[in-house]
């Protein structure tokens, strides 16, 4: 797949700004470090030349930011969407979370994004600068010269198991359109399913014990756009600032996964941002896999206006207890 260059993005944005189609541009800029790329709103061309970033670390899914930004913006916002981001975009539209008229969506091809932890594993800590070209060149404060690596060797897990290079929503597409891929995204879920309950318990105990309740997963999640989160709402009965007991984190993650079940597009942002590297996407994928198997294939965000499995039913759905029997014994 041909990469679209940063310059092409800026040129596109500048021309749309100039002809009045949009009044602002939602894209990415550098944060504290070269690999720490964050969403940013631009209104002028110079600003974009100075700050706009488009490289192998632009994992952030911009769809979610439209909810807040469109409420404030006067005119249209241009947003750059990678193929996986377009699913979130549609899902948010299904839920009426922003006004489609206020957005000009430009689809951009994506070859996958880099996982900074994998980069560090090669380069070592203390990254001073990163250059993204044919190869990713990383120099650290501890070593002379730069470590070089292929993007394909340091892909984020979610990009390794990319479900779709196809954009399901856009006003305009840059570069060539990709296809829905036969990803192996459920392999890891299946591996866990094949374990004994004790092994699974041990696995999750290990993983979830790392949780520090920083809420990064929730804050980045494009399905978590609630005006007030239940975990911040005293009337919900599950509000918590500090955990009461050890179960609290567990409950947080189950409830969060349940809340986004049927709405989660499997964009993988939760795992990408987790500072503790908990594979949170596995919880979401477990729900997706179960729903696919029990109620028929469903991809949230594929089109606008879909009815998700949990707000639907058929008269002969399987019983709650039967969910374990489908497809042989997985215990």
């Amino acid at each position: 797949m041909q990469k679209v260059t940063r310059e092409a993005l800026i040129e596109k944005a500048a021309s749309l700004l100039a002809n009045g189609t949009v009044t602002s541009v939602l894209a990415w800029k550098k944060g504290e470090f070269d690999y720490d790329i964050t969403p940013a709103l631009f209104t002028g061309e110079e600003e974009m030349h100075a700050e706009l970033v488009w490289n192998d670390f632009c994992g952030a899914n911009l769809s979610k930011y439209l909810v807040a930004k469109t409420k404030k913006a006067e005119g249209k916002i241009l947003v750059f969407l990678k193929s996986c981001d377009t699913y979130s975009f549609n899902q948010l539209l299904t839920e009426h979370r922003f006004d489609r008229e206020k957005v000009y969506a430009v689809g951009i091809p994506c070859c996958g994004m880099a996982d900074i932890d994998k980069v560090k594993a090669i380069s070592g800590d203390g990254i001073a600068s990163i250059e993204c070209a044919e190869k990713i060149k990383v120099s650290t404060i501890y070593s002379e010269g730069a470590a070089e690596m292929d993007l394909n060797d340091v892909l984020l897990e979610r990009c390794e198991s990319c479900k779709s290079k196809k954009h399901v929503a856009y006003d305009e597409l840059m570069g060539e359109e990709g296809e829905i891929l036969d990803s192996h995204r459920f392999d890891e879920v299946e591996r866990l399913e094949a374990m004994t309950p004790d092994e699974r318990f041990a696995f999750w105990q290990e993983e979830l014990s790392k949780c520090i309740r920083c809420n990064a997963c929730r804050n980045v999640c494009p399905a978590c756009t609630c005006e007030v989160c239940v975990f911040n709402n005293p009337a919900s009965g599950v509000e918590s600032k500090a955990p009461v007991n050890d179960f609290e984190e567990k409950m947080f993650h189950i409830i969060r996964a349940f809340h986004v079940a049927g709405r989660c597009t499997d964009c993988g942002e939760c795992s990408r941002v987790c500072p503790q590297n908990i594979p949170l996407h596995l919880l979401n994928r477990k729900f997706i896999k179960d729903m696919n198997e029990c109620y028929g294939e469903y991809q949230a965000g594929e089109t606008v206006g879909q009815r998700a499995p949990l707000v639907d039913y058929t008269l002969d759905d399987l019983e709650a207890g039967e969910v374990f029997e489908r497809g042989g014994d997985n215990a």
Partner: protein, 664 residues
């Protein structure tokens, strides 16, 4: 902070025999919010209730917990008691320590321990109870009946006789429906017209009934007691109020070859027509697809001969909006198309007909003036074969047939067979059947008469193929009892086509937010206990739109629906169930999940302006629950991702408090 009184009932020895009521009262005394706790032999007795009233006054109670029998037994009683004491009735909670404690546990220690926990849970809940007031809404004292067949007619007459106004909307030019097309009715063999047309006249003459014929419902809004309905009166190009129904226009109309739908296309009508002699309203209608004047601007004969001046070629569809308190659906049925069953050669031979066509062939007002002549050559058929269950009980392919039993075919086939043998004893009549289903008063006797007295041959088996050859229909079928394949050269074959809901029912259900089953029959609010109500409040069901029905059943259901409507319209105000869902607009995301699962269509959305902390105004889509429509199941509350939706009387925090109290 609440001031809660706890009242532990002995229920004689029913509770006190296994639960130490004194200890329960004592244990609950120390629960948060409890300021008074006592026990008594029979809380539900007058003395017991007085005790509660006095305690409320004396201890300035704001909430009450009664530890007694099931709330399904006495919740209403104690709510009234609370009201008597000046408390909001919804400040009462019951701890069920009889059915779910003393009666199922034998050990006093175990029973007492559990009763205390159940009491604690109730106290925890009351602490979070809020006074609830049922919403009130006015009732428009007028009913709408959709469909003017026997079901709609009977419902309308019954409602109107009770003194309420009723409008009937009928899509055809006349009311009367399927029954008007029938010849005789089983099991008494009354003439259908003789018993139906007087009712049609009653409708026409009733001062409380208006008939919108040749009209359709195009929009419905509102809720129980307060519906607003837009009715589309289709242009009939004849002024209904002026036309006298004299028929002069029909006589003179030069366009003669329009298939007559009333006789199912077996003869022709004019471009201007009155469907049948007893039509109500008896008014002519012009068929714009056939009329030369409307198609090409040439002719105008009807206008010239009409002395009343009723013809109006410029008439347009007209929209009428009216308010109603209740809506009755009576959209009826249609026989299914025989297109997919051509093994019976329906499309190949005019002499293969459906049972409804047979009705017209034997009806004195039908295309053959009641003489049984077969359509192809108008000869008297000497051998007739009836085939039952054509398309009914067919599970193999949804687009072909219907999985259900159409219920009426066994009886009308017996009727047809019997009447044929009665009028034409020389006719050989054979019926192929799978099962003969005759549950109903005098039904089986009727069927037996067909075979025993009239000599109708019943063959258990099914026809597999009909081959028209020459002027015969070669019928090949199975006789399962004789274990042989039978071949009959018949002159006429009558197919008992399955019946299905009228095609207009599905879009209507969407407008009404009334639910339907997979076959497009309307769903009843409860299959046993609320069979004539739709789950959507204020929408009632009459006749075959709810499921296959014969005339007696239809008329009884029509009357029952009318009784329900009268009960509703007799009220000046509707008191709702206050335990309904409500959405906190500050938390609602407007995502529509709740509306997806609401079985009653109680949730709508609106854009609302919010003033933000930075003084800007933001517009956000939010959910609104109509408390008059919501029935309080709470399904939306779980679907709501933000927790904005909650259920009054069973709030998230109340239930969590109960869980906490039990698990403490």
């Amino acid at each position: 902070m609440q001031r809660i009184g706890v009242f532990v009932c002995w229920c004689g020895s029913n509770i006190a025999g296994t639960v130490d009521v004194k200890q329960v009262a004592k244990a609950l005394e120390n629960e948060p919010g409890v300021v008074y706790s006592t026990d008594y032999q029979y809380m539900c007795s007058q003395a017991g209730q007085d005790m509660i009233v006095n305690a409320v006054k004396e201890h300035r109670l704001t909430g009450i917990v009664v530890c007694s029998c099931s709330p399904r037994m006495h919740e209403q009683t104690f709510r009234k008691t609370a009201a008597k004491a000046g408390l909001n009735p919804y400040m009462v909670e019951i701890a069920n320590i009889r059915e779910q404690c003393s009666w199922v546990h034998k050990d006093m220690i175990v029973g007492t321990e559990k009763a205390i926990i159940l009491g604690k849970a109730a106290v925890a809940k009351v602490n979070l109870n809020a006074p609830l007031t049922p919403g009130e809404s006015p009732v428009t004292k007028r009913a709408l009946v959709i469909g003017g067949g026997i079901a709609g007619i009977q419902t309308a007459l019954d409602i109107a006789d009770a003194g309420f106004e009723v409008d009937i909307v009928e899509k055809k030019p006349t009311i009367g429906g399927k029954m008007a097309q029938l010849d005789k009715t089983f099991p008494t063999l009354d003439c259908a017209a003789c018993i139906l047309t007087p009712k049609m006249v009653d409708v026409a003459q009733h001062e409380k009934i208006r008939v919108f014929s040749f009209s359709e419902v195009s929009e419905v809004s509102g809720f129980v007691g307060n519906f607003e309905v837009t009715i589309k009166k289709k242009a009939r190009y004849v002024k209904e109020d002026i036309c006298t129904g004299c028929g002069a226009c029909v006589d003179k109309c030069p366009v003669k070859k329009v298939p007559n739908e009333f006789n199912l296309g077996m003869d022709n009508r004019k471009a201007i027509y009155i469907p049948f002699a007893q039509a109500v309203p008896k008014v002519a209608t012009i068929d714009p697809n056939a009329c030369n004047m409307l198609k090409a601007g040439k002719c105008g004969v009807c206008s010239k001969v009409c002395t009343a001046g009723a013809i109006d070629y410029t008439q347009k569809d007209e929209l009428v909006t009216e308010k109603y308190g209740a809506i009755v659906v009576a959209t009826g049925f249609e026989p299914i198309s025989m297109e997919k069953f051509d093994e019976y050669a329906y499309s190949q031979s005019k002499d293969v007909i459906t049972s409804l066509e047979f009705e017209r062939l034997t009806n004195a007002a039908g295309p053959t003036q009641g003489k049984l002549l077969r359509p192809s050559d108008l000869k008297h058929p000497e051998k007739i074969v009836f085939v039952q269950c054509v398309g009914s009980r067919c599970a193999s392919c949804a687009e072909k047939g219907k999985e259900y039993c159409s219920k009426i075919c066994c009886m009308y086939t017996a009727k047809h067979a019997m009447l044929t043998r009665d009028k034409y004893p020389d006719t050989d009549v054979t019926v192929f059947y799978i099962d003969v289903r005759t549950p109903g008063k005098n039904f089986d006797e009727f069927y037996r008469r067909a075979t025993e007295d009239y000599g109708v041959k019943y063959i258990k088996g099914m026809v597999g193929k009909i081959v028209p050859e020459g002027d015969k229909l070669h019928v090949q079928g199975s006789d399962l009892i004789a274990n042989e394949q039978v071949h009959i050269d018949a002159d006429l074959v009558v197919l008992a086509a399955a019946i299905e809901p009228d095609k207009s029912a599905r879009p209507l259900a969407t407008m009404l937010t009334a639910s339907m089953d997979t076959n497009d029959f309307f769903t009843e609010a409860h299959p046993k206990l609320r069979p004539v109500e739709s789950p959507t409040a204020g929408v009632f069901l009459s006749g075959a739109c709810q499921g296959p029905k014969d005339i007696p059943e239809t008329v009884s259901q029509a009357g029952a629906a009318a009784a329900k409507v009268i009960g509703l319209l007799a009220k000046d105000k509707l008191l709702g169930n206050p335990c309904v869902a409500s959405s906190d607009e500050n938390m609602c995301n407007g995502c529509s999940s709740c509306a997806n699962v609401c079985p009653y269509g109680a949730i709508t959305y609106e854009d609302k302006e919010f003033r933000m902390p930075d003084r800007t105004i933001q517009v956000r889509r939010i959910a609104k629950v109509n408390p008059a429509v919501c029935q309080g199941c709470g399904c939306c509350t779980v679907t709501c991702p933000s927790g904005a939706m909650d259920l009054r009387g069973f709030t998230n925090s109340q239930i969590m408090a109960e869980v906490d109290a039990i698990c403490k």
